[in-house]
């Protein structure tokens, strides 16, 4: 089959000593990043992009490094959920529900091992899903013209707030802010400067990496300053005697893992969902289906396996629209899109046809990363637990300084650093006001591409707006976008209430 020969080529690209070493480093760093509370996958990848970029790595190795970090962070988030009852990142929230009770029952080692295996199962099969589904989506996407792409970008913005979004008006504000920032600089088609106010530094526009690192990393540091206690969470009390899961436990949870993987993958592929929803859906479904004795929430192993398989499967599923269409469906994939753009790779159907070595090398790297993560995570989890004990009062300054180093390395300009700080302050204020940051990022990333497609479409039709809904595909995408925007208004309250019930009722 075509897919398999492509995949074999991918492995040929990925299986060099240098790439394997980079994957290992990426997995290791990623797990640490995921495990540390307050340094989620988006943050971690955001800080590392400028570094990977300035190191001058070629595209494929850089991609391998950073996607290993992405998958690693998804694995790592569970460690602090299970041991400390603090989710290392947002998708790991559901893992606290049964993971921490297992720790209290003296089963911390089993919980860690089991969740590692569940993460592997979820991510591994989701990567297979990616292998088969992405090329199908590419076939559809090759039929897209500029009008369809414009509709697709709108769809991404409309659904990005997610089904559980609280306030769509704030998502609109966020997207408009991001798009507005993207407009700054010289217009690509006519060459006139726009909104630069004569400032020479602004002619090239604001570099999206500067904005992303500011919005994510610097604002995180400011958020931590709100609370003076920079102590590490207490973890000394839990003892890890054995970090293996008995075979019977794995066998008992196998069904949960399988169902959660499928649910998580679907949640990941759909726009506006992402990994957090994947783990949530997987957990609630499993609870409804299997919780006959009321053991969920009291340390049921299935309650650990389900959300972990779900969130890692969703992480893999989220890569499908990102790679095949160039339109990310979640926060972390938006950051991954930034990474591709920094490497001068434009994801989308053309990537599959023109640079298949990059795509399939990346997918092969995901498989390799997964196996590495399983090997790293099950026997070596003790090391990561030790890292958790680094107090934030030392960690956060280091994060800030590494951010500065990365951005300084990009251009060596003081102006960029000041812009980064400004974005940090803005990110802090927006977070406090409950304005989502991801649409801002996506706006900055996609703004110019979105405008370009709109203008191309209108050039083709000589200014006639009806071309925007001139094909059945375009109409379909518009309907989805409208539906995606309205759905949270209709169902958001319900899902949020369920989520609150599940997390509070323990």
């Amino acid at each position: 089959m075509d897919v398999f020969s492509n995949l074999a080529d991918g492995f040929a690209v990925a299986l060099t000593w240098q790439n394997l070493a980079l994957a290992l480093i990426g997995c290791f760093l990623g797990t640490i990043i995921g495990a540390l509370p307050g340094l989620g996958p988006s943050n971690g990848v955001a800080i590392l992009i400028p570094l990977a970029f300035t190191l001058g790595l070629p595209a494929t190795p850089a991609l391998i490094l950073l996607t290993s970090v992405y998958y690693g962070a998804m694995y790592g988030g569970r460690i602090s959920s299970i041991l400390l009852n603090i989710p290392g990142d947002e998708p790991a929230l559901m893992t606290t529900l049964d993971g921490y009770p297992m720790t209290k029952n003296g089963q911390a080692g089993e919980a860690l091992a089991l969740s590692g295996i569940a993460s592997f199962v979820g991510a591994f099969f989701a990567t297979w899903g990616l292998v088969f589904l992405a090329p199908q989506l590419v076939k559809v996407a090759l039929l897209f013209g500029p009008a369809e792409y414009f509709a697709l970008f709108t769809l991404a913005f409309a659904t990005l707030g997610g089904i559980a979004a609280r306030n769509q008006a704030k998502a609109v504000i966020a997207a408009a802010l991001g798009l507005g920032i993207a407009m700054i600089g010289v217009d690509h088609q006519t060459g006139v400067p726009r909104l630069t106010f004569g400032e020479i530094h602004l002619y090239e526009g604001i570099h999206f990496l500067v904005a992303i690192v500011g919005l994510f990393a610097i604002s995180e540091v400011l958020l931590f300053l709100e609370h003076a206690n920079g102590e590490a969470p207490e973890a000394g009390t839990t003892r890890l005697n054995r970090i293996t899961a008995p075979l019977s436990m794995v066998a008992r949870t196998a069904g949960s893992m399988a169902r959660s993987t499928i649910l998580g993958f679907v949640a990941g592929v759909l726009p506006g969902a992402g990994a957090s929803l994947g783990s949530f859906v997987a957990y609630t479904f499993e609870k409804r289906l299997k919780d006959k004795e009321g053991t969920f929430g009291k340390g049921d192993p299935r309650g650990v396996a389900a959300p972990e398989a779900g969130n890692n499967a969703a992480a893999g599923g989220a890569l499908v629209p990102m790679l095949a269409l160039g339109v990310p469906g979640s926060g972390t994939t938006a950051v991954l899109l930034a990474m591709l753009m920094a490497l001068n790779i434009t994801p989308g159907p053309l990537l599959f046809t023109q640079q298949p070595d990059v795509v399939w090398g990346l997918i092969a790297a995901l498989f390799i990363g997964n196996v590495m993560l399983l090997l790293l995570n099950v026997p070596m989890v003790g090391i990561f637990v030790r890292v958790l004990q680094v107090p934030t009062k030392y960690l956060m300054p280091a994060v800030a300084m590494v951010s500065f180093v990365g951005i300084y390395g990009l251009s060596g300009s003081t102006f960029d650093l000041l812009v980064m700080i400004a974005f940090g302050v803005m990110g802090y204020l927006l977070r406090k006001l409950d304005v989502p940051l991801v649409p801002v990022i996506l706006g900055i990333l996609l703004g110019n591409e979105m405008e370009k497609n709109l203008r191309r479409a209108l050039t083709i039709s000589d200014g006639d707006l009806s071309i925007l809904w001139g094909s059945p595909i375009a109409i379909g995408i518009w309907l989805l976008a409208i539906l995606g925007f309205i759905a949270p208004l209709l169902f958001g309250r319900l899902i949020r209430r369920k989520k609150a019930e599940v997390t509070v009722a323990r």
Binding site: I173, A175, A176, G180, V192, P397, M401, L433
Partner: protein
């Protein structure tokens, strides 16, 4: 109240944005849509979101007390001073001071914070400069 301020600010911003977008000079060769239309549309969308937030604000977020707010302002000032210090005093010294100050304000004792600052600076310098060969601000003394 916070949301009304947000809505008001964004509304003002959107009006300014639309105004400045209309001021973009268009060359005599242009596509049918031109460089103005999309920014103006963004301004309008921002204005609509802002209006809604102004009229229907969310519940008030928990703002830190004034003293804590001062900490955040102080941290921002430290970072701004740091960017200006980089070319003057070089990477290692500036970073040690900035990281030490941040760590102190996050709750480390003065001695621990000093040690943390120096170790972070030296650590980053060794890893990123010596091992990975990244370009850092070197300053007059070459470190």
């Amino acid at each position: 109240m916070s949301d009304r301020v947000l809505g008001g600010t964004c509304l003002l911003l959107s009006l300014l944005y639309i105004y400045f977008s209309t001021q973009i000079r268009v060359g005599f060769i242009s596509d049918p849509m031109g460089p103005k239309a999309f920014p103006i549309a963004i301004g309008v969308v921002l204005g609509l979101g802002a209006l809604y937030t102004l009229v229907r604000p969310d519940p008030e977020p928990v703002w830190p007390r004034l003293g804590r707010m001062g900490e955040i302002v102080f941290a921002v000032l430290v970072m701004v001073a740091y960017t200006y210090a980089l070319p003057e005093f070089g990477f290692t010294l500036s970073t040690a001071v900035a990281a030490g100050l941040l760590s102190w304000r996050l709750g480390a004792g003065p001695i621990a914070a000093t040690i943390a600052g120096v170790s972070i600076a030296v650590g980053i310098f060794v890893i990123f400069r010596q091992v990975l060969g990244l370009s850092l601000a070197l300053g007059p003394w070459g470190f």
